[in-house]
Amino acid sequence: MASQDAPALALENITVTFAARDAKDTRYTAVKDATLVVAPGEFVSVVGPTGCGKSTLLNIAVGLLEPSAGSVKVFGKPLVGLNGSAGYLFQTEALMPWRTALDNVTAGLEFRGVLRGEAVQRAEDWLARVGLAGHGHRYPHQLSGGMRKRVALAQTLILDPQIILMDEPFSALDIQTRQLMENELLELWSANRKSVVFITHDLEEAISLSDRVVVLSAGPETRPIGEFAIDLPRPRDVAEIRLTPRFIELHTRIWHAMKDEVLKGYARTRIQ
Protein backbone atom coordinates (compact mmCIF):
# COMPACT_ATOMS: atom_id res chain seq x y z
CA MET A 1 0.00 0.00 0.00
CA ALA A 2 1.23 3.48 -0.81
CA SER A 3 1.99 5.75 2.09
CA GLN A 4 -0.94 7.65 3.49
CA ASP A 5 0.46 11.10 2.87
CA ALA A 6 1.63 10.57 -0.71
CA PRO A 7 -0.02 12.99 -3.11
CA ALA A 8 -3.09 11.64 -4.86
CA LEU A 9 -1.65 12.66 -8.18
CA ALA A 10 1.86 13.80 -8.98
CA LEU A 11 2.84 14.85 -12.48
CA GLU A 12 6.58 15.44 -12.29
CA ASN A 13 8.58 17.25 -14.96
CA ILE A 14 6.21 16.22 -17.69
CA THR A 15 7.16 16.94 -21.29
CA VAL A 16 4.80 16.09 -24.13
CA THR A 17 6.03 16.25 -27.70
CA PHE A 18 3.62 15.38 -30.50
CA ALA A 19 5.19 14.09 -33.69
CA ALA A 20 3.14 14.03 -36.86
CA ARG A 21 2.72 10.42 -37.93
CA ASP A 22 3.72 10.97 -41.56
CA ALA A 23 6.42 13.60 -41.01
CA LYS A 24 8.52 12.73 -37.97
CA ASP A 25 10.51 15.94 -38.13
CA THR A 26 7.53 18.23 -37.60
CA ARG A 27 7.33 18.13 -33.84
CA TYR A 28 5.21 20.11 -31.48
CA THR A 29 6.12 20.32 -27.84
CA ALA A 30 2.82 21.09 -26.18
CA VAL A 31 3.97 20.77 -22.57
CA LYS A 32 7.48 21.16 -21.24
CA ASP A 33 8.81 20.33 -17.81
CA ALA A 34 5.47 20.80 -16.10
CA THR A 35 4.93 19.70 -12.52
CA LEU A 36 1.54 19.45 -10.91
CA VAL A 37 0.94 17.83 -7.53
CA VAL A 38 -2.50 17.29 -6.06
CA ALA A 39 -2.94 16.28 -2.44
CA PRO A 40 -5.65 13.83 -1.36
CA GLY A 41 -8.91 15.71 -0.95
CA GLU A 42 -7.59 18.83 -2.63
CA PHE A 43 -9.52 20.79 -5.22
CA VAL A 44 -7.14 22.22 -7.80
CA SER A 45 -8.17 24.31 -10.79
CA VAL A 46 -6.01 24.71 -13.85
CA VAL A 47 -6.47 27.78 -16.00
CA GLY A 48 -4.63 28.77 -19.11
CA PRO A 49 -5.16 30.17 -22.57
CA THR A 50 -6.85 28.02 -25.18
CA GLY A 51 -4.62 25.44 -26.85
CA CYS A 52 -1.97 25.58 -24.14
CA GLY A 53 -2.13 21.91 -23.20
CA LYS A 54 -4.67 21.58 -20.41
CA SER A 55 -6.49 18.61 -21.94
CA THR A 56 -3.13 17.09 -22.77
CA LEU A 57 -2.13 17.22 -19.10
CA LEU A 58 -5.36 15.50 -18.06
CA ASN A 59 -4.87 12.81 -20.71
CA ILE A 60 -1.47 12.17 -19.19
CA ALA A 61 -2.93 12.03 -15.69
CA VAL A 62 -5.53 9.45 -16.68
CA GLY A 63 -3.06 7.37 -18.66
CA LEU A 64 -4.51 7.83 -22.13
CA LEU A 65 -1.31 9.53 -23.22
CA GLU A 66 2.23 8.70 -22.21
CA PRO A 67 4.50 11.61 -21.47
CA SER A 68 7.63 11.98 -23.62
CA ALA A 69 9.55 12.62 -20.42
CA GLY A 70 8.74 12.84 -16.76
CA SER A 71 6.81 10.63 -14.40
CA VAL A 72 3.24 10.21 -13.26
CA LYS A 73 2.54 8.90 -9.78
CA VAL A 74 -0.83 8.00 -8.36
CA PHE A 75 -0.88 7.77 -4.56
CA GLY A 76 2.87 7.35 -4.68
CA LYS A 77 2.89 4.57 -7.25
CA PRO A 78 4.08 5.05 -10.82
CA LEU A 79 1.17 4.96 -13.26
CA VAL A 80 1.07 2.00 -15.63
CA GLY A 81 -1.66 1.92 -18.24
CA LEU A 82 -4.94 3.55 -17.34
CA ASN A 83 -5.38 5.31 -14.04
CA GLY A 84 -7.82 3.10 -12.19
CA SER A 85 -8.38 5.57 -9.36
CA ALA A 86 -9.44 8.39 -11.65
CA GLY A 87 -12.73 9.43 -13.18
CA TYR A 88 -12.46 11.57 -16.27
CA LEU A 89 -14.98 14.02 -17.60
CA PHE A 90 -14.04 14.62 -21.22
CA GLN A 91 -14.16 18.02 -22.86
CA THR A 92 -15.82 16.52 -25.95
CA GLU A 93 -18.76 14.15 -26.36
CA ALA A 94 -17.99 10.84 -24.71
CA LEU A 95 -21.41 9.30 -24.07
CA MET A 96 -22.27 6.12 -25.92
CA PRO A 97 -24.87 7.28 -28.44
CA TRP A 98 -26.54 3.86 -28.54
CA ARG A 99 -27.33 3.90 -24.81
CA THR A 100 -30.01 5.92 -23.10
CA ALA A 101 -29.00 8.49 -20.51
CA LEU A 102 -29.78 5.99 -17.77
CA ASP A 103 -27.80 3.20 -19.41
CA ASN A 104 -24.89 5.55 -19.91
CA VAL A 105 -24.87 6.31 -16.21
CA THR A 106 -25.08 2.62 -15.27
CA ALA A 107 -22.31 1.68 -17.74
CA GLY A 108 -19.43 1.84 -15.27
CA LEU A 109 -21.34 -0.19 -12.67
CA GLU A 110 -22.30 -2.71 -15.33
CA PHE A 111 -18.65 -3.10 -16.37
CA ARG A 112 -17.85 -3.78 -12.72
CA GLY A 113 -20.50 -6.46 -12.46
CA VAL A 114 -23.02 -4.62 -10.27
CA LEU A 115 -26.47 -6.16 -10.57
CA ARG A 116 -28.82 -4.39 -12.95
CA GLY A 117 -31.48 -3.54 -10.37
CA GLU A 118 -29.05 -1.91 -7.99
CA ALA A 119 -27.22 -0.11 -10.80
CA VAL A 120 -30.46 1.38 -12.11
CA GLN A 121 -31.46 2.53 -8.67
CA ARG A 122 -28.17 4.30 -8.11
CA ALA A 123 -28.23 5.79 -11.60
CA GLU A 124 -31.72 7.19 -11.12
CA ASP A 125 -30.48 8.76 -7.94
CA TRP A 126 -27.53 10.34 -9.75
CA LEU A 127 -29.65 11.58 -12.61
CA ALA A 128 -31.83 13.33 -10.07
CA ARG A 129 -28.79 14.89 -8.44
CA VAL A 130 -27.65 16.42 -11.73
CA GLY A 131 -31.17 17.66 -12.39
CA LEU A 132 -32.18 15.10 -15.00
CA ALA A 133 -34.76 13.04 -13.16
CA GLY A 134 -37.23 11.70 -15.69
CA HIS A 135 -34.84 12.08 -18.64
CA GLY A 136 -33.26 8.67 -18.21
CA HIS A 137 -35.02 7.09 -21.18
CA ARG A 138 -33.68 9.63 -23.67
CA TYR A 139 -30.82 8.99 -26.04
CA PRO A 140 -27.88 11.42 -26.12
CA HIS A 141 -29.01 12.97 -29.41
CA GLN A 142 -32.31 13.83 -27.74
CA LEU A 143 -30.59 15.82 -24.99
CA SER A 144 -29.14 19.31 -25.11
CA GLY A 145 -25.39 19.82 -24.95
CA GLY A 146 -25.62 20.89 -21.32
CA MET A 147 -27.79 17.90 -20.42
CA ARG A 148 -25.26 15.57 -22.04
CA LYS A 149 -22.53 17.15 -19.93
CA ARG A 150 -24.57 16.48 -16.82
CA VAL A 151 -25.19 12.86 -17.82
CA ALA A 152 -21.44 12.52 -18.29
CA LEU A 153 -20.91 14.00 -14.83
CA ALA A 154 -23.28 11.44 -13.30
CA GLN A 155 -21.62 8.69 -15.34
CA THR A 156 -18.24 9.55 -13.84
CA LEU A 157 -19.23 10.36 -10.26
CA ILE A 158 -21.42 7.28 -9.75
CA LEU A 159 -18.21 5.24 -9.65
CA ASP A 160 -16.94 7.34 -6.71
CA PRO A 161 -13.39 7.74 -8.05
CA GLN A 162 -10.57 8.81 -5.72
CA ILE A 163 -9.37 11.39 -8.24
CA ILE A 164 -11.77 13.36 -10.38
CA LEU A 165 -10.42 14.94 -13.55
CA MET A 166 -12.77 17.44 -15.15
CA ASP A 167 -12.12 19.15 -18.46
CA GLU A 168 -14.24 22.30 -18.72
CA PRO A 169 -17.33 20.45 -17.50
CA PHE A 170 -19.64 23.43 -17.20
CA SER A 171 -18.59 25.59 -20.10
CA ALA A 172 -21.67 24.54 -22.10
CA LEU A 173 -24.12 25.64 -19.41
CA ASP A 174 -25.84 28.99 -18.94
CA ILE A 175 -24.64 31.04 -16.00
CA GLN A 176 -27.53 30.16 -13.66
CA THR A 177 -27.44 26.39 -14.27
CA ARG A 178 -23.73 26.61 -14.09
CA GLN A 179 -23.74 28.15 -10.64
CA LEU A 180 -26.28 25.56 -9.51
CA MET A 181 -24.02 22.78 -10.77
CA GLU A 182 -20.95 24.39 -9.21
CA ASN A 183 -22.66 24.56 -5.83
CA GLU A 184 -23.84 20.99 -6.28
CA LEU A 185 -20.31 19.91 -7.11
CA LEU A 186 -18.91 21.68 -4.05
CA GLU A 187 -21.52 20.04 -1.87
CA LEU A 188 -20.78 16.58 -3.24
CA TRP A 189 -17.11 17.20 -2.89
CA SER A 190 -17.19 18.47 0.69
CA ALA A 191 -19.38 15.56 1.78
CA ASN A 192 -16.83 13.11 0.45
CA ARG A 193 -13.52 14.79 -0.20
CA LYS A 194 -11.82 13.54 -3.32
CA SER A 195 -8.93 15.03 -5.20
CA VAL A 196 -10.19 17.15 -8.05
CA VAL A 197 -8.36 18.59 -11.03
CA PHE A 198 -10.73 21.05 -12.60
CA ILE A 199 -9.89 22.66 -15.93
CA THR A 200 -11.59 25.84 -16.95
CA HIS A 201 -11.21 28.99 -18.98
CA ASP A 202 -13.16 30.90 -16.41
CA LEU A 203 -10.97 32.39 -13.70
CA GLU A 204 -13.95 33.28 -11.48
CA GLU A 205 -15.15 29.70 -11.61
CA ALA A 206 -11.65 28.48 -10.76
CA ILE A 207 -11.30 30.75 -7.75
CA SER A 208 -14.76 30.17 -6.34
CA LEU A 209 -14.39 26.38 -6.42
CA SER A 210 -10.80 25.62 -5.58
CA ASP A 211 -8.25 25.31 -2.85
CA ARG A 212 -5.55 26.20 -5.35
CA VAL A 213 -5.43 27.72 -8.81
CA VAL A 214 -2.62 26.80 -11.20
CA VAL A 215 -1.98 29.13 -14.13
CA LEU A 216 -0.38 27.69 -17.24
CA SER A 217 1.68 29.63 -19.73
CA ALA A 218 0.65 29.91 -23.36
CA GLY A 219 1.82 27.08 -25.62
CA PRO A 220 4.04 25.72 -27.03
CA GLU A 221 6.21 24.42 -24.21
CA THR A 222 3.53 25.10 -21.65
CA ARG A 223 4.36 24.96 -17.96
CA PRO A 224 2.74 26.29 -14.79
CA ILE A 225 3.73 29.93 -14.25
CA GLY A 226 1.89 30.59 -11.05
CA GLU A 227 0.14 28.85 -8.18
CA PHE A 228 -2.29 30.66 -5.95
CA ALA A 229 -3.69 29.27 -2.72
CA ILE A 230 -7.33 30.25 -2.37
CA ASP A 231 -7.93 30.87 1.30
CA LEU A 232 -11.62 31.67 1.02
CA PRO A 233 -13.69 30.07 3.79
CA ARG A 234 -15.79 27.00 3.11
CA PRO A 235 -18.59 26.11 2.68
CA ARG A 236 -18.92 28.53 -0.17
CA ASP A 237 -21.73 29.73 -2.33
CA VAL A 238 -20.23 30.35 -5.72
CA ALA A 239 -22.50 33.29 -6.48
CA GLU A 240 -22.04 35.07 -3.18
CA ILE A 241 -18.36 34.50 -2.76
CA ARG A 242 -17.65 36.49 -5.90
CA LEU A 243 -18.74 39.63 -4.14
CA THR A 244 -16.34 39.35 -1.18
CA PRO A 245 -13.30 41.67 -1.10
CA ARG A 246 -10.89 38.75 -0.69
CA PHE A 247 -12.23 37.14 -3.88
CA ILE A 248 -11.75 40.35 -5.81
CA GLU A 249 -8.25 40.73 -4.48
CA LEU A 250 -7.33 37.17 -5.52
CA HIS A 251 -8.96 37.64 -8.87
CA THR A 252 -6.96 40.76 -9.55
CA ARG A 253 -3.69 39.10 -8.62
CA ILE A 254 -4.23 36.01 -10.72
CA TRP A 255 -5.61 37.95 -13.62
CA HIS A 256 -2.44 40.04 -13.73
CA ALA A 257 -0.37 36.91 -13.86
CA MET A 258 -2.51 35.48 -16.64
CA LYS A 259 -3.07 38.51 -18.81
CA ASP A 260 0.29 38.45 -20.57
CA GLU A 261 -0.07 34.75 -21.33
CA VAL A 262 -3.57 35.09 -22.72
CA LEU A 263 -2.40 37.90 -24.99
CA LYS A 264 0.59 35.80 -26.06
CA GLY A 265 -1.60 32.82 -26.85
CA TYR A 266 -4.05 34.98 -28.76
CA ALA A 267 -1.31 36.67 -30.78
CA ARG A 268 0.08 33.27 -31.71
CA THR A 269 -3.22 31.91 -32.98
CA ARG A 270 -3.69 35.07 -35.04
CA ILE A 271 -0.36 34.68 -36.74
CA GLN A 272 -1.01 31.06 -37.69
Binding site: V62, L64, L82, N83, G84, A86, G87, Y88, F90, T92, E93, A94, L95, M96, P97, W98, R99, T100, A107, G108, E110, F111, R112, Y139, P140, H141, Q155, T156, L159
Partner: protein
Protein backbone atom coordinates in the same frame (compact mmCIF):
# COMPACT_ATOMS: atom_id res chain seq x y z
CA UNK B 1 -53.42 31.77 -51.11
CA UNK B 2 -56.57 29.67 -51.20
CA UNK B 3 -58.64 29.85 -54.35
CA UNK B 4 -62.35 29.21 -54.43
CA UNK B 5 -63.14 25.54 -55.09
CA UNK B 6 -64.95 26.21 -58.38
CA UNK B 7 -61.98 27.97 -60.01
CA UNK B 8 -59.82 24.87 -59.62
CA UNK B 9 -59.63 22.70 -62.67
CA UNK B 10 -60.07 18.96 -62.44
CA UNK B 11 -56.32 18.58 -62.90
CA UNK B 12 -55.53 20.97 -60.08
CA UNK B 13 -57.55 18.81 -57.72
CA UNK B 14 -56.31 15.49 -59.06
CA UNK B 15 -52.65 16.15 -59.62
CA UNK B 16 -50.17 14.07 -57.63
CA UNK B 17 -49.35 15.45 -54.20
CA UNK B 18 -48.48 14.03 -50.76
CA UNK B 19 -52.06 13.02 -49.99
CA UNK B 20 -52.95 11.00 -53.06
CA UNK B 21 -49.59 9.39 -53.91
CA UNK B 22 -50.88 5.88 -53.19
CA UNK B 23 -53.84 6.36 -55.52
CA UNK B 24 -51.54 7.51 -58.28
CA UNK B 25 -49.12 4.66 -57.68
CA UNK B 26 -51.90 2.07 -58.00
CA UNK B 27 -53.19 3.95 -61.01
CA UNK B 28 -49.82 3.71 -62.74
CA UNK B 29 -49.75 -0.03 -62.12
CA UNK B 30 -53.23 -0.42 -63.63
CA UNK B 31 -52.26 1.65 -66.66
CA UNK B 32 -49.18 -0.50 -67.10
CA UNK B 33 -51.26 -3.68 -67.03
CA UNK B 34 -53.82 -2.13 -69.39
CA UNK B 35 -51.18 -1.22 -71.98
CA UNK B 36 -49.62 -4.63 -71.61
CA UNK B 37 -53.02 -6.21 -72.09
CA UNK B 38 -53.94 -4.15 -75.16
CA UNK B 39 -50.62 -4.74 -76.86
CA UNK B 40 -50.39 -8.48 -76.29
CA UNK B 41 -53.82 -10.06 -76.43
CA UNK B 42 -54.31 -11.15 -80.04
CA UNK B 43 -56.92 -9.22 -81.99
CA UNK B 44 -57.29 -6.08 -79.89
CA UNK B 45 -54.90 -3.98 -81.95
CA UNK B 46 -53.46 -5.01 -85.31
CA UNK B 47 -49.88 -6.33 -84.98
CA UNK B 48 -47.55 -3.31 -85.00
CA UNK B 49 -44.21 -4.97 -85.01
CA UNK B 50 -44.72 -8.70 -85.35
CA UNK B 51 -45.98 -10.27 -88.55
CA UNK B 52 -48.33 -12.57 -86.65
CA UNK B 53 -51.04 -11.50 -84.16
CA UNK B 54 -50.04 -14.28 -81.73
CA UNK B 55 -46.38 -13.45 -81.53
CA UNK B 56 -46.71 -10.55 -79.09
CA UNK B 57 -48.44 -12.86 -76.62
CA UNK B 58 -45.77 -15.49 -77.20
CA UNK B 59 -42.93 -13.13 -76.33
CA UNK B 60 -44.52 -10.93 -73.69
CA UNK B 61 -47.27 -13.05 -72.18
CA UNK B 62 -50.77 -11.85 -71.45
CA UNK B 63 -51.45 -10.07 -68.17
CA UNK B 64 -54.80 -11.76 -67.53
CA UNK B 65 -53.28 -15.19 -67.98
CA UNK B 66 -50.32 -14.19 -65.84
CA UNK B 67 -52.59 -12.98 -63.06
CA UNK B 68 -54.81 -16.03 -63.27
CA UNK B 69 -51.72 -18.20 -63.02
CA UNK B 70 -50.71 -16.34 -59.86
CA UNK B 71 -54.26 -16.75 -58.54
CA UNK B 72 -54.20 -20.48 -59.32
CA UNK B 73 -50.91 -20.89 -57.50
CA UNK B 74 -52.15 -19.31 -54.34
CA UNK B 75 -55.67 -20.72 -54.58
CA UNK B 76 -54.56 -24.30 -55.11
CA UNK B 77 -51.65 -23.83 -52.71
CA UNK B 78 -49.17 -25.18 -55.25
CA UNK B 79 -46.86 -22.21 -54.84
CA UNK B 80 -46.46 -22.35 -51.08
CA UNK B 81 -43.95 -25.15 -51.06
CA UNK B 82 -41.76 -23.34 -53.55
CA UNK B 83 -42.15 -19.96 -51.93
CA UNK B 84 -41.34 -21.44 -48.57
CA UNK B 85 -38.14 -22.99 -49.92
CA UNK B 86 -37.04 -19.72 -51.53
CA UNK B 87 -37.74 -17.68 -48.42
CA UNK B 88 -36.05 -20.23 -46.19
CA UNK B 89 -32.94 -20.09 -48.39
CA UNK B 90 -33.06 -16.30 -48.27
CA UNK B 91 -33.35 -16.33 -44.52
CA UNK B 92 -30.49 -18.79 -44.04
CA UNK B 93 -28.24 -16.93 -46.47
CA UNK B 94 -29.01 -13.68 -44.71
CA UNK B 95 -28.37 -14.99 -41.20
CA UNK B 96 -25.23 -16.95 -42.03
CA UNK B 97 -23.83 -14.16 -44.21
CA UNK B 98 -24.53 -11.50 -41.58
CA UNK B 99 -23.13 -13.45 -38.66
CA UNK B 100 -19.98 -14.50 -40.49
CA UNK B 101 -19.51 -10.97 -41.89
CA UNK B 102 -19.91 -9.59 -38.38
CA UNK B 103 -17.50 -11.99 -36.74
CA UNK B 104 -14.80 -11.84 -39.40
CA UNK B 105 -15.26 -8.10 -39.87
CA UNK B 106 -14.82 -7.47 -36.15
CA UNK B 107 -11.88 -9.79 -35.95
CA UNK B 108 -10.04 -8.23 -38.87
CA UNK B 109 -10.88 -4.67 -37.88
CA UNK B 110 -9.40 -5.25 -34.43
CA UNK B 111 -6.29 -7.00 -35.76
CA UNK B 112 -4.36 -4.57 -37.93
CA UNK B 113 -1.75 -7.15 -38.87
CA UNK B 114 -4.26 -9.82 -39.88
CA UNK B 115 -6.23 -7.26 -41.85
CA UNK B 116 -3.12 -6.01 -43.67
CA UNK B 117 -2.26 -9.63 -44.44
CA UNK B 118 -5.68 -10.51 -45.85
CA UNK B 119 -6.30 -7.21 -47.58
CA UNK B 120 -5.45 -8.20 -51.18
CA UNK B 121 -7.42 -11.45 -50.92
CA UNK B 122 -10.48 -9.73 -49.56
CA UNK B 123 -10.33 -7.21 -52.36
CA UNK B 124 -9.93 -9.98 -54.94
CA UNK B 125 -12.82 -12.03 -53.55
CA UNK B 126 -15.01 -8.98 -53.43
CA UNK B 127 -14.38 -7.89 -56.99
CA UNK B 128 -14.87 -11.40 -58.36
CA UNK B 129 -18.30 -11.89 -60.00
CA UNK B 130 -19.42 -14.35 -57.38
CA UNK B 131 -22.56 -15.53 -59.14
CA UNK B 132 -20.19 -17.58 -61.23
CA UNK B 133 -19.54 -19.74 -58.15
CA UNK B 134 -23.06 -21.19 -58.41
CA UNK B 135 -22.08 -24.22 -60.54
CA UNK B 136 -19.22 -24.99 -58.17
CA UNK B 137 -21.54 -24.80 -55.19
CA UNK B 138 -23.93 -27.16 -56.98
CA UNK B 139 -21.11 -29.65 -57.27
CA UNK B 140 -20.00 -29.18 -53.69
CA UNK B 141 -23.32 -28.93 -51.92
CA UNK B 142 -25.66 -30.73 -54.30
CA UNK B 143 -28.85 -29.47 -55.89
CA UNK B 144 -30.69 -28.99 -52.62
CA UNK B 145 -30.97 -25.75 -50.67
CA UNK B 146 -27.39 -25.78 -49.35
CA UNK B 147 -25.89 -24.65 -52.65
CA UNK B 148 -28.36 -21.76 -52.92
CA UNK B 149 -27.69 -20.69 -49.37
CA UNK B 150 -23.97 -20.78 -50.10
CA UNK B 151 -24.40 -18.48 -53.07
CA UNK B 152 -26.51 -16.04 -51.04
CA UNK B 153 -23.95 -16.10 -48.24
CA UNK B 154 -21.12 -15.10 -50.56
CA UNK B 155 -23.20 -12.13 -51.69
CA UNK B 156 -24.33 -11.03 -48.22
CA UNK B 157 -21.04 -11.64 -46.45
CA UNK B 158 -19.04 -8.94 -48.19
CA UNK B 159 -21.62 -6.22 -47.70
CA UNK B 160 -21.81 -6.92 -43.99
CA UNK B 161 -18.09 -7.42 -43.72
CA UNK B 162 -17.17 -4.06 -45.21
CA UNK B 163 -19.77 -2.25 -43.17
CA UNK B 164 -18.60 -3.83 -39.92
CA UNK B 165 -15.03 -2.96 -40.80
CA UNK B 166 -16.02 0.63 -41.40
CA UNK B 167 -18.15 0.72 -38.27
CA UNK B 168 -15.28 -0.37 -36.05
CA UNK B 169 -12.95 2.20 -37.55
CA UNK B 170 -15.52 4.96 -37.12
CA UNK B 171 -15.85 4.45 -33.37
CA UNK B 172 -15.22 7.79 -31.74
CA UNK B 173 -11.86 7.63 -29.93
CA UNK B 174 -13.35 9.64 -27.08
CA UNK B 175 -16.24 7.23 -26.61
CA UNK B 176 -13.78 4.37 -26.65
CA UNK B 177 -11.43 6.03 -24.16
CA UNK B 178 -14.36 6.91 -21.93
CA UNK B 179 -15.59 3.31 -21.87
CA UNK B 180 -12.10 2.10 -21.00
CA UNK B 181 -11.80 4.60 -18.16
CA UNK B 182 -15.22 3.54 -16.90
CA UNK B 183 -13.66 0.13 -16.50
CA UNK B 184 -14.66 -1.83 -19.60
CA UNK B 185 -12.55 -4.93 -20.20
CA UNK B 186 -11.50 -5.88 -23.72
CA UNK B 187 -14.56 -8.14 -24.02
CA UNK B 188 -16.88 -5.47 -22.72
CA UNK B 189 -15.44 -2.96 -25.16
CA UNK B 190 -16.25 -5.38 -27.95
CA UNK B 191 -19.77 -5.97 -26.74
CA UNK B 192 -20.70 -2.46 -25.64
CA UNK B 193 -18.74 -0.23 -28.01
CA UNK B 194 -17.47 -1.95 -31.15
CA UNK B 195 -20.49 -4.13 -31.88
CA UNK B 196 -23.13 -1.40 -31.41
CA UNK B 197 -21.11 0.96 -33.57
CA UNK B 198 -20.64 -1.71 -36.24
CA UNK B 199 -24.31 -2.67 -36.04
CA UNK B 200 -25.37 0.82 -37.02
CA UNK B 201 -23.45 0.34 -40.24
CA UNK B 202 -24.79 -3.15 -40.74
CA UNK B 203 -28.34 -1.88 -40.38
CA UNK B 204 -27.64 0.86 -42.86
CA UNK B 205 -26.89 -1.90 -45.38
CA UNK B 206 -29.70 -4.21 -44.31
CA UNK B 207 -31.84 -3.47 -47.36
CA UNK B 208 -28.95 -4.39 -49.59
CA UNK B 209 -28.05 -7.58 -47.81
CA UNK B 210 -31.60 -8.92 -47.56
CA UNK B 211 -32.09 -8.12 -51.25
CA UNK B 212 -28.91 -9.93 -52.21
CA UNK B 213 -29.77 -12.95 -50.08
CA UNK B 214 -32.97 -13.17 -52.10
CA UNK B 215 -31.07 -12.78 -55.37
CA UNK B 216 -28.66 -15.53 -54.32
CA UNK B 217 -31.52 -17.90 -53.55
CA UNK B 218 -33.40 -17.29 -56.79
CA UNK B 219 -30.36 -17.34 -59.06
CA UNK B 220 -29.19 -20.53 -57.39
CA UNK B 221 -32.54 -22.16 -58.01
CA UNK B 222 -32.66 -20.93 -61.53
CA UNK B 223 -29.30 -22.49 -62.28
CA UNK B 224 -30.36 -25.94 -61.09
CA UNK B 225 -32.79 -27.15 -58.49
CA UNK B 226 -35.87 -29.20 -57.83
CA UNK B 227 -37.83 -26.74 -55.70
CA UNK B 228 -38.31 -23.02 -55.26
CA UNK B 229 -39.76 -20.16 -57.27
CA UNK B 230 -36.61 -19.99 -59.37
CA UNK B 231 -37.21 -23.63 -60.26
CA UNK B 232 -40.80 -22.86 -61.36
CA UNK B 233 -39.47 -20.18 -63.67
CA UNK B 234 -36.79 -22.46 -65.01
CA UNK B 235 -39.35 -25.17 -65.79
CA UNK B 236 -41.80 -22.82 -67.45
CA UNK B 237 -39.02 -21.45 -69.58
CA UNK B 238 -38.22 -24.97 -70.74
CA UNK B 239 -41.72 -25.29 -72.17
CA UNK B 240 -41.86 -21.71 -73.50
CA UNK B 241 -44.67 -20.98 -71.06
CA UNK B 242 -43.98 -17.26 -70.93
CA UNK B 243 -47.05 -16.51 -68.80
CA UNK B 244 -45.76 -18.70 -66.00
CA UNK B 245 -42.35 -17.09 -66.22
CA UNK B 246 -43.95 -13.68 -65.77
CA UNK B 247 -46.14 -14.99 -62.98
CA UNK B 248 -43.02 -16.20 -61.17
CA UNK B 249 -41.34 -12.85 -61.67
CA UNK B 250 -44.41 -11.10 -60.31
CA UNK B 251 -44.49 -13.25 -57.20
CA UNK B 252 -40.76 -12.73 -56.62
CA UNK B 253 -41.11 -8.98 -56.98
CA UNK B 254 -44.00 -8.88 -54.55
CA UNK B 255 -42.03 -10.85 -51.98
CA UNK B 256 -38.95 -8.71 -52.47
CA UNK B 257 -41.12 -5.71 -51.63
CA UNK B 258 -42.53 -7.43 -48.57
CA UNK B 259 -39.03 -8.33 -47.36
CA UNK B 260 -37.96 -4.75 -47.83
CA UNK B 261 -40.90 -3.58 -45.80
CA UNK B 262 -40.08 -6.00 -42.99
CA UNK B 263 -36.50 -4.70 -42.98
CA UNK B 264 -37.73 -1.10 -42.73
CA UNK B 265 -39.84 -1.98 -39.72
CA UNK B 266 -36.96 -3.82 -38.04
CA UNK B 267 -34.64 -0.93 -38.77
CA UNK B 268 -36.96 1.60 -37.17
CA UNK B 269 -37.30 -0.45 -34.04
CA UNK B 270 -33.62 -1.29 -33.60
CA UNK B 271 -32.02 2.02 -34.44
CA UNK B 272 -33.94 4.33 -32.09
CA UNK B 273 -30.72 5.80 -30.80
CA UNK B 274 -29.77 7.34 -34.11
CA UNK B 275 -30.70 10.92 -34.78
CA UNK B 276 -33.14 11.25 -37.64
CA UNK B 277 -34.09 14.21 -39.72
CA UNK B 278 -37.21 16.08 -38.74
CA UNK B 279 -38.19 14.52 -35.46
CA UNK B 280 -40.42 17.37 -34.42
CA UNK B 281 -44.12 16.74 -34.33
CA UNK B 282 -46.43 19.20 -36.06
CA UNK B 283 -49.24 20.44 -33.91
Amino acid sequence: MREPESSKGVWARMRPRQGNLRVWQVGMLLVFFAIWHVLTVPGIVPPLYFDDANKAAFFFGEPLKVLSRVWDWFYSGAIYEHLWVTLWETFLAFVIGTVSGLVIGLWLALNPIASALCDPYIKALNSMPRVILAPIFSVWFGLDIASKVALGVTLVFFIVFFNVYQGVREVSPTVLANARILGASQRQLLRHVYVPSAMSWVFASLHNSVGLAFVGAVVGEYLGSSRGVGYLILQAEGTFDINTVFAGILVLTAFALILDFVVSVAEKRLMVWQPRQGETERI
